[in-house]
């Protein structure tokens, strides 16, 4: 008698937004081929409304999409846990964020994130999604240059004005879909930005086919965001044979070979691109071919991914405080990026149970956490370049997100923490490059090193360097640099209170 083997029970915890837009439906469908899937939609702003109380007895494995911070909660309950992080959401997460989930397995759709997780000691499987190429129109009109841009996140810097700087009036036609992800004030009249290019706009589509029709008329697609988790929009454009023009970041730069199957630009210091119908046609064809070649590879990877999830081991729970993690990790996460980082650092002792395979400083064996006795990240280079992934580990309180080349202090006060390594500990002076937002009076910025007032400087709207002497004892092995600004300002459509934007700090 044939006895049907019951499928493993898998709980899929996803962001309610993705589940609504069905942008990751392909993943649910793939999981359903092997597992009995129960979906839980989570709104990070209202976690209490989601039913996340399931236990090991109720599920065999949990897959957490994008909401990485939830993983330790399930690990503490002894549930095999697989995390599918998204680059655009988790790019700036500190090493501890990944180490708290070290007993989970990861599935990465971004190579950049994949190696970041591995660098933190996590186990990650790298996969690359490709949409179905046949589902899209491949014939393109190449006699003219016709662009499509969905202005989703103008606050990121990728807005119609920026696109106009990129292409000037080279295009014959340009369509701008002005449906923004956030309620932001309207920008300039886009019809005047592109010279004699024929510009059309839209704000709403009754159904998706209208969007598809518009895209089908274009042969250049401007990616709407600085980075992507997977990037369904630009991948569909590539599948349709469009030349995609996108910011040089993951996942754009993991699909687009620059000036071969699309164009990558840097938001900082970009100049006008020179496009021709022939080059656009070649890039569009290469893009379509990239998707066509990649699709069978992705289909083969699905099984590998399912095996990886299926084989996820049961975590070693030890003496983990499951109830504590249940409430506190979510509270810390929703309290903000800085609050979450501080929560992780304050609870680093939990790594003994959450990441039992990691060596800790306390064991005296060196190992993954080499940050020194106060768990401060080690600073080996003489310059901290703000706005880069490498600098983020040193930014403690009061900092906003990374922007190309600088980071704003959000509010009047911010701190940096690090342990200076080698000769740096004896540094005698500091050079800070910074600028201020438009303010009625010049900004005054006080710099305090290890609790001792070092100097106060005047900061204008132009980014310039200021060098100050450090206290006699130098930086020392453990350093906290605090910045106190006299004024803050709130720009229209801006939730932050900006005081000073720091580009770099060097020690001599």
């Amino acid at each position: 008698m044939n006895k049907k083997i019951a499928k493993k029970r898998l709980v899929y915890v996803g962001h309610h937004f993705h589940l609504k837009t069905r942008s990751t439906q392909f993943l649910v469908e793939a999981l359903s081929t092997r597992f009995s899937v129960t979906t839980v939609a989570v709104d990070p702003e209202n976690l209490a409304a989601s039913n996340l109380s399931f236990t090991r007895a109720e599920c065999d494995v949990v897959v957490v999409l994008q909401l990485d911070f939830l993983a330790p909660i399930f690990i503490a309950r002894g549930i095999p846990t697989v995390v599918v992080p998204m680059f655009d959401g988790s790019e700036h997460m500190p090493e501890l964020h990944w180490q708290f989930s070290q007993q989970a397995r990861f599935v990465s759709f971004s190579r950049h994130l994949h190696v970041k997780i591995q660098r933190a000691g996590g186990q990650s499987l790298l996969v690359k999604y490709f949409p179905e190429p046949e589902a899209y129109v491949s014939a393109r009109k190449y006699r003219e240059l016709s662009g499509f841009f969905w202005e989703r996140r103008p606050d990121s810097g990728v807005d119609a004005s920026f696109i106009a700087k990129l292409v000037g009036s080279q295009l014959d036609r340009m369509h701008i879909h002005q449906a923004r992800d956030l309620p932001l004030p309207p920008g300039p009249n886009v019809k005047t930005l592109f010279g004699d290019t024929e510009v059309t706009t839209s704000t709403w589509f009754e159904n998706r086919s209208e969007l598809s029709e518009l895209m089908a008329r274009a042969n250049i697609y401007f990616a709407p965001r600085l980075s992507e988790g997977i990037g369904m929009g630009f991948l569909e454009a590539m599948a349709q044979g469009m030349a995609v023009i996108a910011h040089d970041a993951s996942t754009h730069n993991e699909y687009i070979a620059n000036w071969s199957s699309g164009v990558l630009y840097s938001l900082h210091g970009t100049h006008e691109l020179v496009l021709s119908t022939q080059k656009v046609a070649e890039m569009g064809e290469a893009a379509r071919q990239c998707i066509a070649e990649g699709r069978p590879i992705w289909l083969r990877q699905i099984d590998q991914m399912l095996d990886w999830i299926d084989g996820c081991p049961e975590p070693d729970v030890g003496d983990l405080p499951a109830d504590f993690l249940d409430t506190e990790i979510s509270r810390a996460y929703t309290a903000g990026f800085g609050a979450y980082r501080r929560f992780l650092r304050r609870n680093i002792h939990l790594l003994k149970s959450l990441a039992p395979k990691m060596e800790t400083v306390a064991s005296g064996k060196g190992g993954v956490i080499d940050d020194g006795p106060a768990l401060m990240p080690a600073l080996r280079e003489s310059t901290i370049a703000f706005g880069s992934a490498g600098a983020r580990q040193y930014l403690a309180k009061g900092w906003s997100h990374d922007e190309p080349g600088f980071v704003w202090v959000d509010g009047p006060y911010a701190t940096l923490n690090f342990s200076a390594v080698g000769d740096l500990a004896a540094a005698r002076s500091l050079t800070i490059r910074c600028h201020a937002p438009p303010l009625p009076h010049p900004q005054r910025l006080a710099i305090v090193v290890n609790g001792a007032f070092a100097d106060a400087i005047e900061v204008g709207s132009e980014s310039i360097e200021h060098t100050i002497a450090l206290p006699e004892v130098g930086l020392g092995a453990l350093t906290e640099i605090a910045l106190f600004a006299e004024q803050t300002c709130k720009l229209p459509g801006e939730a932050r209170r900006l005081s000073v934007a720091v580009s770099s700090i060097s020690f001599h």
Partner: protein, 404 residues
């Protein structure tokens, strides 16, 4: 295979640098055990004390040498390494070369524990500074009747790996000369002709040529329409990882009839942050498959089976004297390689016809196209001819050298 009769009682195949669970060192110990077994009553393999205990049991290796090369092969944190070395009873920071004392103590212990005598042999298949110095010191301290023969195979990797000398290679050659003059029976060989001549010049001792022995059967060329290029071995900048994007862009600029596919490993995850953007672009390039930095030997074997040629865009300065284990593995598997002129092993590639040699990276795409256009049976014939000549010479060289 070596067919000469037994020449010794006991042989210790020693590699103090065999510490990683992957790479060439572990299989090399096994290969040389097989090579020496017909010639000795007993052959034992000795690896680093930091080698995996599980793998040591599986491979029947003895964990014998304190690992002194963490700066070059960082297998543990610096603090842990210092703690381990300082815990050695022979370590004392007061000496000019504190590691030498550790290495010598290890060698004395090994010779004593294995009751090594004059009819025995120490064989070092990939010799390192402290392995050599340790055994030379230990032998010099013994009466002549208890001194084994020492066969040292120099591969140009860790012979100069010491922080305590201004001219480490000069120091090593001076030690070798002195030990030989003092009656220690030393037999030298090197992996490439250029290196053998250099060592001879520095030591005054005849230095033979012993490339890596034949280790795998010839694999048939794949019957695929695509042309598969394998950039095999760990990805490193001195192995030309940073040239692969330019090479593939050159290939795509003028496509050949057979679509060219490139498979390569990626740089070690830690310490390669500056290459993330470059690697992303390589990942985005059509026809490129990126593998993890560390892969299993089974997968490596499958990759040799699946490829048409092996690409070795190695740095000419770094490999001026050095051989390439991958080139020799490729010859064993029956694959032609493509490399740059100026490396020591490129002379072997040219002399035996083991592949194509070009002058610059810019010449590589065109060479790939030419190799992709070569009829399969012609390529197979060329491989068979080159392989036969290469391994006949290698087998003869080992047979002669080990009979000394």
């Amino acid at each position: 295979m070596l067919t000469a009769g037994r020449v010794g009682r006991k042989a210790l195949v020693c590699d103090p640098v065999c510490v990683l669970p992957y790479g060439h060192a572990m299989p090399a110990l096994n290969h040389y055990r097989r090579l020496l077994l017909p010639r000795f009553e007993d052959v034992k393999c000795l690896a680093s004390k930091s080698f995996s205990e599980k793998l040591a049991v599986e491979n029947d290796f003895e964990q014998a040498f304190t690992f002194l090369y963490n700066k070059y092969i960082p297998v543990m944190g610096e603090a842990r390494f210092n703690e381990m070395v300082k815990a050695h009873p022979a370590f004392s920071d007061a000496f000019a070369d504190p590691y030498e004392r550790v290495a010598t103590a290890d060698a004395v212990d090994i010779l004593g524990r294995h009751e090594i005598a004059s009819e025995d042999t120490i064989f070092m298949p990939g010799a390192d500074f402290y392995g050599i110095v340790g055994f030379l010191n230990a032998c010099a301290a013994r009466p002549a009747a208890q001194r084994p023969k020492i066969f040292i195979r120099l591969i140009g990797v860790l012979e100069a790996a010491t922080p305590f000398y201004d001219d480490p290679m000069g120091e090593l050659c001076r030690r070798i000369r002195a030990a030989s003059a003092a009656g220690v029976r030393l037999y030298l060989s090197a992996e490439t002709p250029a290196y053998a001549d250099y060592v001879n010049e520095q030591t005054g001792l005849i230095t033979y040529l012993t490339p890596y022995p034949e280790t795998s059967e010839r694999l048939p060329l794949p019957e695929t329409d695509d042309f598969n290029v394998l950039c095999a071995g760990s990805a490193r900048l001195d192995k030309g990882f940073h040239h692969l994007l330019e090479i593939m862009q050159g290939v795509h600029a003028n496509p050949s009839r057979r679509k060219v596919l490139l498979t390569t490993q990626t740089l070690p995850v830690k310490g390669s942050e500056a290459w993330d953007s470059y690697t992303s672009q390589l990942y985005a390039t059509s026809g490129v498959t990126l593998l993890e930095p560390v892969i299993s030997s089974e997968l490596m074997h499958d990759l040799y089976r699946a490829c048409d040629i092996v690409l070795l865009p190695y740095a000419q300065d770094v490999y001026r004297m050095r051989g390439s284990a991958v080139m020799m593995e490729a010859a064993g598997a029956g694959r032609l390689c493509l490399t740059l002129r100026g490396t020591a092993f490129s002379r072997q590639v040219e002399y035996y016809g083991l592949g194509e040699v070009v002058d610059t990276i810019r010449d590589i795409p065109d060479a790939i196209r030419k190799m992709a256009a070569m009829p399969r049976d012609r390529m197979q014939g060329r491989i068979d001819q080159a392989r036969a000549r290469f391994f006949l010479d290698i087998n003869a060289a080992y047979a002669h050298w080990l009979s000394l």
